[in-house]
Symmetry: C2
Subunit: 193 residues, 2 copies
Amino acid sequence: MPKLGMEPIRRAALVKATIAEIGVAGSLDVTVSQIARRAGMSSALAHHYFGGKDQIFLAAMRHIMTVYGAEARGALAMADGPRARAEAIIRAGFTTTNFRRDVVAAWLNFYVLAQSSPAARRLLTLYQRRLQSNLIHALRPLAGDRAADIATRLAALIDGMYLHAALGVHLPDTGMATHHLLTLLDIELKVAG
Amino acid sequence: MPKLGMEPIRRAALVKATIAEIGVAGSLDVTVSQIARRAGMSSALAHHYFGGKDQIFLAAMRHIMTVYGAEARGALAMADGPRARAEAIIRAGFTTTNFRRDVVAAWLNFYVLAQSSPAARRLLTLYQRRLQSNLIHALRPLAGDRAADIATRLAALIDGMYLHAALGVHLPDTGMATHHLLTLLDIELKVAG
DNA sequence: GTTTCTTGATTGACGAGTCAATAAAAACGC
DNA sequence: GCGTTTTTATTGACTCGTCAATCAAGAAAC
């Protein structure tokens, strides 16, 4: 009963299932069969649409980054003034979406993958550049020459705080994480040079 | 040609080889045979001494943390005064040792593992608590009540900056990373509250 | 002759990727 | 409209490789 135009539906289902399975396993040690089963199809079909395991993973990562990017862009569009823009960027990193178990697992494994997979590395670099550039843009009117330096620290603290929130001693506390980021922003802007 | 008392030697060789192989692969997708070959023995012997793959990995991670802990303690012992103690802790995180490809790979994979392996999680928690506690101790005389908060940000920035330095756009620059950390320390202490 | 060390060979399981075959829809020829 | 062919969707079965773990057996030290 093949219905036409299934490709995008199947691909989306596979991407979603991949992220879910990574979340369950905590790692990329996930079989194509598991993914396909969760997505309601045979493993052969998964291969048919994606070609191979690697490409399924990459598509999943790309999807996560796309969603994240969209969220960030949305928040940025609503922000009024430089300070609000900086805050929007910070808050976008600590939404509940980003702290879902499967999303955290995907990110951590993505870092691992970025060491050996050029494609993953490119994607990560893209994310980093975009974050950095957004931050600098927002900070320029507030900090002038110091914008780049501050942006570097903010970007690093975002990722570090994310790591701590996700793997820390306590349960993930997005409020605390955001608070620390905003505090850093405050004191960076308060200090003259 | 069995010589007696080989066990500690073999174990050490296997731990070293494991870290090296993780560095080459960038992931934990390393076979016991590869590790054993690099360590100059058969895979059967690796199983004989460690019991299984998981235990070999955990031993390797424990070794990395032990070395790191020793370095940190050494630097801390030589530090004179609170400010120097804080700096010592920061600098210990950015030694060239810590930026060796294999060590970075081990750490990243360790984060991944910490999601699903209770043993790895415990080890990570231990590291985090120790870092936090060391920082608070050093900062207390300098910042009083704010010590804990500052320590949290410093700890997160250490890990975040490590991530960026290891996986960033540019080559790892330990000097820059350290500089940003010390800058944060500076401005945190400069701001009243 | 018992303990320690060591390995080659083997087992058993699992998993990525392929392929031939089936089936429905669409397009085509008339 | 109605056969026919082509395209799209789909899977079960299979291949081929890999790898963790085991084991029996050999060799050196004590």
